[in-house]
């Protein structure tokens, strides 16, 4: 461990770190509130951060875990592509999954910040755009055989502003190819505005503290972060963990899905964690390949789930994480021209689950169960024409229903989890807002009783939604990876239920759709989607009966499941508020269940 070699007053370091945190929070708030598409303003599918002029991640906002790693590669590429020609007033756009970015849908806006002629910071905001000019009306294209079929416009570190003015060539390119270009432009303004606000604040920051102090601060903040990381890793047991998991099949392309492997070596003595991602299938002819940025972020985020809750997430902490990647793999090492269209979800979701549950191998108290996964019908990309608004086209990703979160050793799963890569940070769409914005009607939206993975701590239950178009047929693109392999429990916890999707013409005969589906829903038809539920943590027979009582009172679990799975027996009734735990019968029931297991 490197001893603190502080030359700045530690109080000043705290103060300066606080100011930078204020800046990234302001970036985040600006982007969130002023963005146009629901995927940003509701689903919060964006992240802001500050990178040093030497391409080290310095200060991320509280953004999506799947965005945490890779911005420093993008800023490095920006500097390489434009060496000798970067100056104040410039801004750059990058969405190249082969250049550190997550996936092409994430348009990354980078503003280099100069002080006294020196490039000290790059302000970065990364936004998932509602449309990016793909060959299908979705920014997620699972079945894309390669980048050409995918069709996204790709901008490898392209200059989009000089002297604070748009490079209009690029604007015209985007407007010529992106569906609902005004929506894209609105989001562009929001994303760029957020980086520009950071620029203003950082210039004031440099003016206040002076260049030398700012540079010393950056060095010391990263060293401090590294010390925190070392301390946290040192408190883990020494262990080698290997965990595997499977992704859903892809009809006609990947009948067995993919088997994914994450190997983790924890070296508390050295204060390091080594991750080996090499034992994974080669790149595939589909949009499921994960970029270096996405796959690493997924694993890094899941490792942070296993460490102290308030560790700084930056280059200093990353110094203690070491990755081994394959030459050619669906995980972190795609080869061109393979598509990474859904790089931030599907396989990445599985990587989060595999990694966070691997830590449970360290024993009770460590790691998490698997969280509900898959972009189901409630998170579909919908598109069509709005007859009530003169037939104008619409395209957007919904965030109406979400998967249930994983359980930890201390807490039950989080209801509004969304996806392992979102980790509950998103906002839900309002049914009324979505019905106002688009010609759709939601028929129902509720929790699914008895879906949760049982455990001492229970996963969050699944949700089910049903909706359809009101005026004209609607296209829904559903890119779900959560319908074949249930989110698993750990330490004796049980799995949560998997997701399902149906097309409904006639309530008596719902038509089951595959997990990845691109369907047209006619007026009068509806789509019904059930998301997956989080896995449990620990033995359900160890769950406090008081918690089971609340679950049953609230209809999250049935009385039957309480008796069968949790071994908790009640007297009285819910309706007259007399439901109570029968302690004696519960003890007996639990003994019986334990005995039956042993037999």
């Amino acid at each position: 461990m490197s001893e603190p070699q502080t030359t700045l007053d530690p109080v000043l370091i705290s103060v300066m770190a606080n100011r930078l945190d204020g800046i990234v929070r302001e970036m985040t708030n600006t982007l969130l509130r002023s963005a146009r598409s629901a995927v940003i303003s509701s689903a919060r599918d964006f992240s802001c951060c500050l990178v040093t002029g030497e391409d080290e991640l310095l200060a991320p906002a509280e953004g999506l875990p799947v965005h945490i790693f890779g911005c420093h590669i993008q800023t490095a590429n920006m500097r390489k592509y434009h060496e000798g020609d970067i100056r104040r007033g410039d801004a750059y756009l990058d969405n190249d999954p082969y250049g550190g970015n997550t996936h092409p849908a994430d348009h990354t806006f980078m503003v280099p910040v100069f002080w006294e002629g020196e490039h000290l910071f790059t302000a970065v905001s990364k936004c998932h755009m509602a449309d990016i000019g793909n060959s299908i009306p979705s920014s997620y294209f699972v079945r894309a055989r390669d980048v050409y079929e995918e069709g996204a416009l790709v901008f490898p570190g392209v200059r989009i502003q000089r002297d604070f003015k748009n490079v209009e060539d690029i604007m015209r390119m985007c407007r010529a190819r992106i569906r609902v270009p005004d929506q894209w432009y609105g989001d562009y303004l929001a994303g760029l505005g957020s980086a520009r606000i950071a620029e203003r604040r950082l210039e004031a920051f440099c003016e206040k503290y002076g260049k030398d102090t700012v540079k010393a601060f950056m060095r010391e903040w990263l060293d401090y972060s590294e010390r925190r990381m070392i301390d946290s890793i040192r408190r883990l047991p020494k262990a080698s963990l290997t965990n595997k998991g499977k992704s859903d099949p892809l009809e006609g392309m990947l009948p067995d899905g993919l088997e994914l492997t994450v190997k983790i070596d924890i070296d508390p003595d050295a204060g390091e964690i080594h991750v080996d991602l090499r034992d994974n299938p080669p790149s595939i002819d589909a949009g499921l390949n994960t970029s270096l940025g996405s796959a690493t972020s997924a694993v890094v985020g899941a490792i942070f789930n296993a460490l102290d809750k308030d560790l700084p997430r930056n280059e200093g902490a990353f110094r203690r994480l070491h990755f081994k990647y394959a030459e050619d793999s669906v995980v972190a090492a795609p080869t061109f021209p393979h598509s990474c269209s859904v790089s931030t979800t599907n396989v990445a979701e599985r990587l989060v689950n595999i990694t966070q549950s691997a830590f449970a191998q360290l024993g009770d108290g460590h790691g998490l169960s698997e969280g509900g996964a898959g972009l189901g019908a409630g998170m579909a990309v919908i598109s069509g024409r709005d007859l009530g608004r003169g037939g104008q086209p619409y395209v957007n990703r919904l965030m109406l229903s979400t998967n249930g979160g994983p359980a930890s050793a201390e807490a039950d799963g989080w209801v509004n989890y969304a996806l392992p890569v979102i980790a509950g940070l998103m906002y839900r769409d309002s049914v009324e807002v979505d019905e106002l914005k688009h010609p759709i009607r939601v028929e129902s939206l509720s929790l699914v009783t008895d879906s949760a993975g049982a455990g001492r701590r229970r996963g969050a239950p699944a949700q089910q939604i049903e909706y359809g178009p009101t005026g004209a047929p609607m296209t829904a693109v559903i890119s779900c990876d959560g319908q074949h392999h249930q989110p698993r429990g750990v330490i004796g916890g049980l799995p949560g239920t998997a997701g399902e999707t149906w097309l409904i013409q006639d309530d008596a005969q719902p038509e089951r759709l595959p997990n990845v589906a691109h369907v047209t829903i006619d007026v009068g038809q509806r789509i019904r989607g059930r998301d997956s539920a989080g896995g449990g943590y620990g033995d359900p027979l160890d769950r406090e009966p008081e918690r089971v009582l609340v679950d049953v009172l609230e209809g999250w679990e049935t009385r039957q499941k309480a008796e069968d799975v949790y071994g908790v027996v009640f007297t009285g009734e819910i309706d007259d508020e007399t439901l109570a735990i029968d302690a004696v019968a519960t003890a007996t029931r639990r003994d019986e269940l334990r005995a039956a297991r042993a037999a």
């Binding site: 929070r25 002023s34 146009r36 505005g193 509004n416 028929e443």
Partner: protein
């Protein structure tokens, strides 16, 4: 004219302010008596009566108006003592209160459970009906089913009913019908219909407001009526008014119909006070108000002389608490104060909070068993507090205990005790600087062009360095700072809001529809005015707003209308331009090409039944007062310096001191740091400046 009394009953203290016939304020404080609030009020009144040489009974009998601010509703919610309330909603959407709006604190923190809904799922009932987004009836109300539900509620003994159906804002027919069924089947049981209480878009916000309001009705009706009779019994014959979350007050008859409006009414009055103080000192415009208590630090704003409102106000934490939904004065609260605990993290940096020693065990120097170093301990060690004159001498502090706990921390850090104590204050200030930064940035207010008004017992320790860091040149710290909210009530008005949801956009603006909505708002506001018992001839102002956004945005911004009716296209164009300017101010971008969507329309009526206290004539004349004593204090430059200590009671208008100095008021201590100055104004406020 008789006296005017305002009372702010907090969780711990009841603050009372009495305005006498010479327009002077008198402050009384007493412990809050939560079992019977009036007892604490009378105790506070005794304090004032004693100072005036009268009896409390006489004072009360000679009082014309009493304004009551209550935390009763908040406390009832926190302690879960609200009514057993049923929640009725559209079939298929029973989980609206469970789902809330999403959002989570800490992407890697899985240590806490998902919150329970405000009303349990087992008390939620689905009604078979559906209205569409255009107000069309998609599925007619199944009256027989609804009747069965209401009969079930009666049979199960529910004490209140909240009804919030999808799209009741577009067509209230179904909600109104259910209201009739409740009146018929459960006469006398209070209920709330969402379209009447909070006709705003977004089903969760409306449902949450409705649920909270209904659950408070039985309790608040009883509480307010009892207060009324307690006061009558004590000889009060004047008008009783109750302060609300929109920064005004209302008659009891209005408030018992909307008890949700009493939530956060105390903090909402701080910006009202701040606006008044800034005006008295001729420093109007943008004002940042900071109220620093023992455990929380509240920040609010006055922008261009106007209060700032929000619909994003939560009971409990953002996202995981329960949204109030109704419009409230925007006041943000962070957990930071004298009780915040200092510690060293594993990376070797000093941190302050979020853990707090609270008031029990409290800071180490309280002698109540606290073993952790707190901000108050640091202030004591630095010499800012006289251990024998804390809180007017009512609590003697243990300086040695403070030095001991800070000494332990100092040893860990390798610094001396003074440096460590000073570092604790600097880092504690950072939390407050960030909180102020966020609210000002959110509303496009520049701290450099604002004045700070500070209140609360703990503000004087650090408000000046905080203001200096933010670039604010001037801080107003009223002598009555410890009762900021109660003072605010003295400057307040009857305020009432009416809202209509009418969606349209600038690409095809529905002027007729909007004007119809504005007319309905007007009618509701005027009917409200006519219903008032007092203030028939009072000065009335009405302001109009629209919550608008660019097409496809999700979040709206409040934009003021310059007139109550949109007569022609030019009026619409002016409104749209006003929105562009607002967006530019808040987000630093405008998009002239984009259509502007208008969502909710709002009218706010203000009726002033009495005049606020007049401002005294200002004077620039200053004099240098004599110090009461000196003490060695530490301000961060490596050495202690002899520092003059002034007693506030000795100071007269125009007294001016330069830092380093300390001014001790009975309920607050003002630290005038080196390089700063303080002056006592004619109006009795301390004006603090960086030199």
């Amino acid at each position: 004219m008789g006296y005017r009394i305002s009372v702010d009953t907090g969780g711990t203290f009841t603050d009372m302010v009495l305005l006498d016939e010479d327009d002077r304020f008198h402050v009384g404080k007493a412990l809050t008596t939560s079992d019977r609030i009036s007892e604490g009020m009378f105790a506070a009144l005794d304090v004032i009566a004693e100072a005036l040489g009268k009896t409390a009974k006489t004072l009360l009998a000679e009082t014309d108006i009493l304004i009551y601010g209550t935390t009763r509703a908040t406390n009832a919610i926190v302690t879960r003592k609200t009514a057993r309330t049923a929640f009725l909603t559209t079939s298929g959407f029973r989980d609206v209160l469970v789902f809330k709006e999403g959002g989570k604190h800490g992407p890697h923190d899985y240590s806490y459970d998902y919150p329970q809904p405000y009303i349990p799922r087992r008390h939620t009932f689905e009604i078979d009906e559906r209205t569409g987004s255009g107000g069309d009836i998609v599925r007619p109300l199944d009256e027989a089913q609804a009747r069965t539900v209401v009969e079930t509620l009666k049979a199960r003994g529910f004490e209140a009913v909240a009804v919030s159906l999808l799209w009741s804002i577009a067509n209230n027919e179904h909600e109104a019908k259910i209201g009739e069924l409740i009146e018929e089947i459960m006469p006398g049981v209070p209920y709330t219909l969402s379209h009447r209480l909070a006709p705003i878009l977004r089903e969760y916000r409306r449902a949450s407001a409705t649920a909270i309001d209904a659950s408070l009705k039985p309790l608040m009706q009883a509480h307010l009526r009892r207060m009324q009779s307690d006061l009558r019994d004590a000889g009060f014959a004047g008008d009783l008014l109750v302060s609300t979350s929109v920064g005004g007050f209302q008659e009891i008859e209005t408030l018992v119909e909307r008890p949700i409006n009493t939530l956060k009414s105390g903090p909402a009055m701080a910006p009202v006070a701040a606006r008044a103080y800034a005006a008295v000192e001729h420093m109007g415009g943008d004002v940042i108000v900071c109220d620093a208590g023992g455990t929380t630090f509240d920040v609010g704003l006055v922008r261009d002389g106007q209060l700032v409102y929000s619909r994003d106000s939560w009971l409990g934490p953002l996202w995981t608490g329960d949204i109030i939904g109704a419009s409230t004065v925007d006041v943000r609260s962070i957990g930071a104060g004298g009780g915040s605990i200092a510690w060293v993290d594993p990376g070797g940096l000093l941190r302050v909070g979020p853990q707090s020693a609270g008031s029990v065990p409290g800071p180490a120097c309280y002698g109540g068993g606290g073993r952790e170093p707190t901000v108050t301990d640091a202030a004591l060690v630095l010499g800012y507090i006289d251990p024998d004159y804390f809180n007017g001498g009512r609590l003697t502090l243990d300086r040695a205990a403070a030095e001991a706990v800070i000494g332990t921390l100092a040893a860990t850090l390798g610094k001396d005790v003074d440096e460590t104590a000073h570092a604790i204050l600097v880092i504690a200030n950072e939390l407050m600087i960030k909180a102020i930064g966020e609210i000002t940035v959110n509303d496009g207010v520049n701290p450099r062009e604002s004045v700070v008004v500070a209140g609360g017992g703990a503000a004087g320790f650090n408000i000046m360095p905080i203001a200096r860091e933010l670039g604010c040149e001037t801080v107003i710290l009223p002598r009555t700072a410890s009762a900021l909210s109660a003072c605010g009530m003295q400057y307040s008005s009857i305020v009432f809001e009416a809202t209509r949801s009418r969606f349209t956009d600038s690409a095809g603006f529905d002027r007729t529809g909007v004007n119809a909505a504005l007319d309905e708002i007007d009618a509701e506001l005027l009917a409200f005015r006519d219903s008032l018992g007092i203030a028939a001839a009072s000065e009335v102002t009405i302001e109009y707003f629209v919550e608008a956004r660019y097409r496809a945005q999700v979040w709206e911004l409040d934009t003021a209308l310059s007139k109550p009716h949109l007569d022609d296209d030019a009026d619409v164009a002016e409104l749209i331009e006003a929105f562009h300017r607002t967006h530019d101010r808040v987000y630093a971008v405008r998009d002239d090409e984009s259509p502007v969507e208008c969502v909710n329309w709002k009218g706010r009526i203000s009726i002033r039944p009495f005049e606020p206290p007049p401002s005294p004539d200002p004077s620039d004349a200053t004099h240098a007062p004599d110090a009461a004593t000196t003490r060695d204090c530490y301000f961060g430059d490596g050495v202690r310096v002899p520092t003059p200590i002034y007693r506030g009671a000795d100071l007269t208008a125009g007294a001016a001191v330069s830092g380093p100095a300390i001014i001790e008021e009975p309920t607050t201590t003002i630290v005038v740091y080196p390089g700063m100055s303080a002056r006592l104004s004619v109006a009795g406020d301390y004006i603090l400046n960086s030199l």
